[in-house]
């Protein structure tokens, strides 16, 4: 079948990539160079001169990446050599774009600056990644506590709806905060959920894939086996109601479906799950005003009514204007007007990239994401035990799906949601979670090699 050859060709191609740390080091040099170049171009384009400020935005993340590289050398020497440079490349580009938006904000005399914070958050996230690599040498330890992970995920998900610490921004209740510190627990929850699913499914996959009764020529599992999927569907709807965000709900449910499908090999779950998801989304668009507004803006963003409505399509349309202005090769870093797009530093950083780097840049960024996802799938493929396979797949898929939902939303392919763009967007929780995913994938790739070599 051609699809099989297509999807297997790419991992095979990448097999040629040596896993050595030396290769990673060369790539890191390259990436650091790209970051320096991007920052310099921004300074020249906006301020017409370069300044030593550049080092503030360049050096700390670079040092952190090298630290992570060093830890890998010490503790996971056979880990995948592409993941760190690719994620770091995106992270640095994000910092550059946020810095560029800061410069525009300074010119306009505005108070909202994000870049310096993003630099330190990136360093912190990479440090946490290093800690994960250092201490989770064998990912199978994670398998021991699936229910604990699941329970933790549920608690984290419920936190934003809690009184006092819960925060609602732009209509979605995704944040918790104490004072000025805010945190999006859902980002961490997605990792815990992947661990929970992987542990649960690895031990239950036999019973879940047992043949149930036949109805209309289709194999339908018994009620016992339908239990989990129903339960989780209800949980996703619960998330939607509590957090008022369709994207998070789709992300978790999609993760669940893909992992149960992979564990059992039964398309039935995907089929019924998709039907449930779409039904849920349609019902939600009827029941909840905020979902309905998102759908209206998505279906006809250019109508004046949606454009000028509060929470309407203004942001989406401004993002599209920006991307269109970028054309094929982009306006050039520092030469576009991404500051015209609301929340260009976080939710709409993809559009800001599209404006200044053009379609070429958008393709490159999407290709980097796809490469990270492929590496994750390859790690799943080469791991021997079910838990590691499922976990790697789940983590890779969650990145891919999140990119799809976010950038699809920004480009008008899907209704807009409150998810963040991994590695690029300003925001600590997102950086932390995605670097933790990279760390787990690195660990999983290292252990897989060790075991197959043994």
């Amino acid at each position: 079948m051609s699809n099989v050859s297509l999807t297997s060709a790419i991992p095979m191609l990448l097999k040629a990539v040596p896993r050595s740390r030396n290769f990673e080091a060369v790539l890191l040099f390259w990436v650091a160079g790209i970051h320096a170049f991007a920052l310099a171009q921004i300074q020249l384009a906006v301020n017409l001169e370069m300044s030593a400020d550049l080092l503030v935005y360049w050096a700390p993340p670079t040092i952190s990446a090298w630290l992570l590289h060093y830890v890998l050398r010490k503790h996971a020497v056979n880990a995948d050599g592409l993941l760190l440079p690719l994620a770091f490349l995106l992270n640095g580009l994000g910092i550059a774009m946020i810095y560029r938006l800061d410069l525009a904000e300074i010119t306009n005399g505005g108070p909202d600056l994000f870049a310096e914070r993003q630099v330190w958050l990136s360093c912190f996230a990479m440090l946490i990644a290093a800690v994960v690599v250092r201490f989770v040498k064998n990912p199978l330890v994670l398998r021991r506590f699936p229910y604990l992970a699941g329970a933790a995920a549920v608690v984290l998900l419920a936190l934003p709806a809690a009184p006092v610490i819960g925060r609602t921004l732009n209509g979605a209740t995704l944040w918790i905060g104490v004072g000025d510190l805010t945190f999006q627990p859902g980002e961490i929850a997605k990792i815990l959920l992947a661990i929970f699913f992987a542990g649960y499914l690895a031990s239950r996959k036999g019973s879940l894939s047992e043949i149930g009764s036949r109805v209309l020529g289709m194999r339908v599992p018994g009620a016992k086996d339908l239990g989990p999927i129903l339960l989780f569907w209800i949980a996703s709807i619960g998330v939607l109601v509590l957090q008022r965000d369709l994207g998070t709900s789709i992300l978790y449910f999609g993760l669940f479906l893909v992992m149960i499908y992979t564990a059992t090999g039964r398309g039935f779950y995907v089929g019924i799950g998709m039907v449930m998801m779409i039904t849920g989304a349609l019902v939600a668009s009827r029941v909840f005003d905020y979902v309905a507004a998102r759908f209206d803006s998505w279906l006809d963003p250019f109508s004046q009514a949606n454009y000028s409505a509060a929470g309407g399509s203004y942001q989406l349309v401004q993002g599209l204007f920006g991307m269109a202005h970028g054309d094929v090769i982009g306006a050039g870093l520092g030469s576009g007007f991404p500051q015209l797009i609301p929340l260009a530093e976080s939710d709409f950083i993809f559009a800001a990239m599209g404006e200044e780097l053009g379609m070429a840049g958008v393709f490159a960024i999407l290709a980097i994401y796809l490469l990270i996802v492929y590496r994750g799938l390859r790690i799943s493929n080469t791991n021997q035990d079910d838990f590691s396979k499922l976990l790697a797949l789940g983590l890779a898929f969650v990145i891919g799906l999140q990119v799809f939902v976010v950038s699809g939303g920004v480009m008008g392919l899907l209704p807009l949601t409150g998810l963040t763009t991994p590695f690029l967007a300003a925001g600590g929780s997102s950086l932390l979670a995605n670097w933790a995913i990279i760390a787990l994938l690195l660990v999983l790739s290292d252990s897989s090699l060790r075991r197959s070599a043994a």
Partner: protein
Amino acid sequence: MNRQVRRVGLFLTVMFVALFAMASSIQVLRTQSLYQDPRNVRAAYETYKTQRGSILVGEQEVVTSDPINDQYRFLRNYDSVLYSSVVGYFSIFSGSSGIERSMNSLLSGQSSAQFFEQINALLDGTPVTGAAIELSLDADIQKAAWDALGARKGAVVAMDPATGRIIAMVSKPGFDANLLAGHSSQATTSAYRELLDDPDSPLVNRAIGGDLYHPGSVFKIVVAAAALESGRYSTGTTFENLDRYRLPGTTTYINNSNNSTCGDGALVTLETALIRSCNIPFAILAVDLGQDRIRAQAELMGFGDELAIPLTVTPSIYPQDMELPQVALSGFGQFDVRTTPLQIAMSTAAIANQGVLMKPQLIDQVVASNLNVLSQPQPQVFSSPMSRETAALLTRMMVDSVEFGAASNAGISSIAVAGKTGTAENGIDEPYTLWFTGFAPAESPEIVVTVVVEDGGGIGQNGTGNQVAAPIAKAVMQAVLNK
């Protein structure tokens, strides 16, 4: 399980292909429509980053863009109010007009003629700079026209009949474009409101637009040209010399402006009628000649055409489907005949240039920032509305009109000036519109001047074209002849 992993990979690949396709659609297929959406301010913002080209009169930069330390980078600076009606204004908050508007793509560096400059700018990082526009205006003549018009509302157009180059174009009152070019949205918008609400409409370039004027007797040169061109009339053709004339099919009478006959005798020639600017013979002539012939002649001279010089010129009107009494009135430029001063200057220029009308032009050349000449409009024939003989006959009559006829105040000693006045009525108690159009020297014209003064030059129904408009034209002609 690996089979499922591969399928998940395929699924993700399909999702990403959709993203690639969507990006291509936005950034390639839909760029134009998104860029042109009126809600997209990027197109406007893009132009601010470019140092806009200067506008020059002769060697002198009358409009410049000066670097300034704010988000708009450059401040447009208008040197003199003398040129306000021609150069117009370029405002961030209130649109644009004049040369600033019609030459915008070149001034802003966005035109296709500047493609290679844009590529170079992209490659070596130097910012694109807009092209400079050199106007055909002559600073001295412009100043003479401005001063001669004084505090009166109206317009002066002066052009070189042999090339169509416009050497002076004044519209009063003018305005200070610096008020609209400012970078404070509030100040600019309120200044704009004030100018818009001003009953004297300073933003309108009266020479080429606005509400148009009744031409009155200056239209007689068009009717006379139509008559001579028809072959049925000569300068000696006679008309009944009446002291009043009943409009055909009505009980309404019209008079000559002296309320008497057109000179002595029972008959009056076309020549005398034009020199003395009598209405009754021209009313008879118009009815006799027919509106179609007059309209055809008027259209050959530019009536009904929307010219771009490159400012957009409002088309002048000779009405369609008139009844006979209206045709009679149109013979001396009344009823609904309406025109721009430029149109009258063009009609005059056709006579001055021996029957060949050159297309009016305000631009001498457009020079890119690298000093390449991007465009240099060449003199262009607009039409040949009359024979050389007709032009010569009309010239002679217009010279006589200045020497001992109705346009005497335009006379310059030792030089033959050709001219025609007009005193157009606008309604029972409305002040007159006062005209003069002419050229000098008559035998080899260097300049055509058309002057219009609104509101009777401030003296209601007491002024005539000869009293008010002719001396203004004379001052402008002298400025040219003394150079």
